[in-house]
């Protein structure tokens, strides 16, 4: 791989041990994937924040690094709400280590907003055509597909390497040749709300790491695209997709030659619901990926002043900045007994493990809860999720 004189100097250790190691990571990945050179990134989003995932070794490694990030960098969700962790049932020992992880990143100059949806709180992190080094699979999918930026799905250390160096290796989704659709998916059904997550759950399993191009009857909104991409990144490893007339278009899009054509209808979508019934749930989880302000508003409206059942938990996850921007909505939601937790989510927090079955309207949570948290998952619409959590209205 070609390195400029300056990059070579970093690689050889002339700018210190940490930067040398970071450059070695970038070069090793570039060699593995056949990159010709490095490219400057606009921003970095770093996974490897939840102490549940990175453990003592991860914490120690991050704590020993020296230096400052070279570009705006932000964190993925942590294993707990950094303020209200006690209410989640997190123990003191975990909380202490989780705080240490976040402090270690802060010391390197990383912005310590912990969210899987950085694009919902900072517009400046990613624009059309920008090269990024983001980790969180749903955020990578959103950035590539909806924003039209360019990012591979980075691991924790490679994202941190990109943050400290300010560059990433030029391969994969940074290059037009890897951004061509591989599958054409015709959806012959009208989709609403959680249908997009169900579609993503199905499509991800079918296309694996491919690049699907959807033709939909219904025009998806931003939250619908967020849900679709997140589900495909979890049930498969889709990092880029297209929706005709709704997302950025493929490069040179007059000549699409997808290798495979798939048709999906209402029956296939409905199967996702039928195969994951709501019965037996002891918790309802909303906000995977993190809720937007509009979604908080919808939740508050659906609750409509009612109360959560005594033996049920209703947890809503969002970014702290989004919660802070909507204090009245958060108060209205919590009045019911529901909790709006920030900085974390049901997939990465150990707090989830004590539930036996969670009800969700997220295709991503549906794909991850059983494996990552050992919790069964039921799937239904946001409306049915909220209804399942609330005390039934007396006539």
């Amino acid at each position: 791989m070609y390195l400029s004189r300056d990059e070579e100097a970093v690689y050889q250790g002339e700018r210190g041990e940490t930067l040398a190691r970071m450059m070695q990571i970038l070069v090793a990945l570039g060699d593995i994937y056949g990159a010709e050179r490095l490219v400057t990134v606009k921003s970095v989003q770093i996974a490897g924040v939840s102490y549940k995932n990175i453990g003592p070794a991860g914490l120690e490694w991050i704590s020993r690094l020296q230096g400052r990030v070279a570009v705006p960098s932000i964190l993925n969700p942590a294993g707990m709400d950094l303020v209200r962790w006690r209410e989640m049932g997190i123990d003191e020992a975990f909380a202490e280590r989780q705080r240490a992880v976040v402090q270690a990143y802060e010391r390197l100059g990383v912005c310590i907003d912990c969210t899987c949806t950085p694009y919902q709180i900072y517009d400046s992190l990613a624009g059309r055509g920008d090269h990024l080094a983001w980790s969180e699979s749903s955020a990578v999918s959103y950035a590539n597909s909806v924003i039209g930026a360019r990012s591979n799905r980075e691991g924790g250390p490679s994202a941190l390497a990109a943050a400290l160096v300010g560059k990433t290796a030029l391969y994969g989704y940074h290059l037009d040749e890897n951004r061509m659709p591989t599958h054409l998916i015709d959806v012959q059904a009208d989709l609403m709300g959680s249908d997009f997550g169900a579609l993503g759950f199905l499509a991800g399993g079918m296309v694996k790491d491919g690049v699907p191009f959807f033709r939909l009857r219904s025009a998806p909104g931003r939250d619908d695209l967020k849900a679709l991409g997140a589900a495909m990144a979890a049930s498969g490893s889709v990092a880029l997709y297209y929706v005709q007339d709704a997302t950025a278009a493929p490069p040179g899009s007059n000549n699409l030659h997808p290798q495979e054509k798939i048709t999906l209808g209402r029956a296939e979508i409905d199967q996702v619901y039928e195969q994951h019934p709501a019965e037996g749930c002891d918790a309802v989880a909303i906000g995977c990926p993190h809720c937007s302000g509009e979604e908080l508003e919808r939740v508050a409206r659906l609750i409509g002043g009612r109360k959560v059942k005594a033996k049920m938990k209703l947890w809503i996850c969002t970014a702290r900045k989004v919660a802070d921007a909507h204090p009245a909505l958060v108060a209205a939601i919590e009045e019911s007994g529901a909790r709006v937790f920030c900085d974390t989510c049901m997939v990465v927090s150990p707090a989830t493990e004590r539930f036996s079955k969670m009800l969700t309207c997220s295709g991503k949570a549906l794909a991850y809860l059983p494996g990552l948290a050992g919790v069964k998952a039921g799937y239904c619409s946001l409306e049915d999720c909220i209804e399942a959590a609330l005390v039934e209205e007396r006539q």
């Binding site: 190691r21 070695q24 990571i25 090793a28 990945l29 060699d31 593995i32 490897g48 995932n53 990175i54 453990g55 003592p56 070794a57 991860g58 120690e60 490694w61 691991g155 924790g156 250390p157 490679s158």
Partner: protein, 139 residues
Amino acid sequence: MMNMEIKCHRVAPGCAGGEALVTKEAISFLGNVDPLTGRVVDPAHELFGQCVAGKVLIFPGGKGSTVGSYVIYQLKKLNLAPAAMINLRSEPIVAVGAIISGIPLVDRVLEAVMKVRSGTWIEVDADGEWVRVHEEKGE
């Protein structure tokens, strides 16, 4: 194969020697290897029960969770890491794990290296991009 010198490609820098521990199977450091003992704990793995500490670990490549990189780092901190590693083709989990832990790692070696018997003395010079195989050391 005696005192054979084989060309390779540097992934993580450094030089080290040790007894070979060889497997034809990919390794998922998260799950396959116990970070507190260095032993392969997956009964389904060819190296089940073996300890990777101080060995030159020869395997086709890594697989599984990216948290595996931190397992390699944990092994190194407890002096239970391999002295060096040789892959046919490195992938990001093992490559990143080796770099952050300071373990020499090379790849793109001849397939013949995979046929070395476990216990054979191996030197790895990642910086010079060669691997030396000392068959029947001490004869």
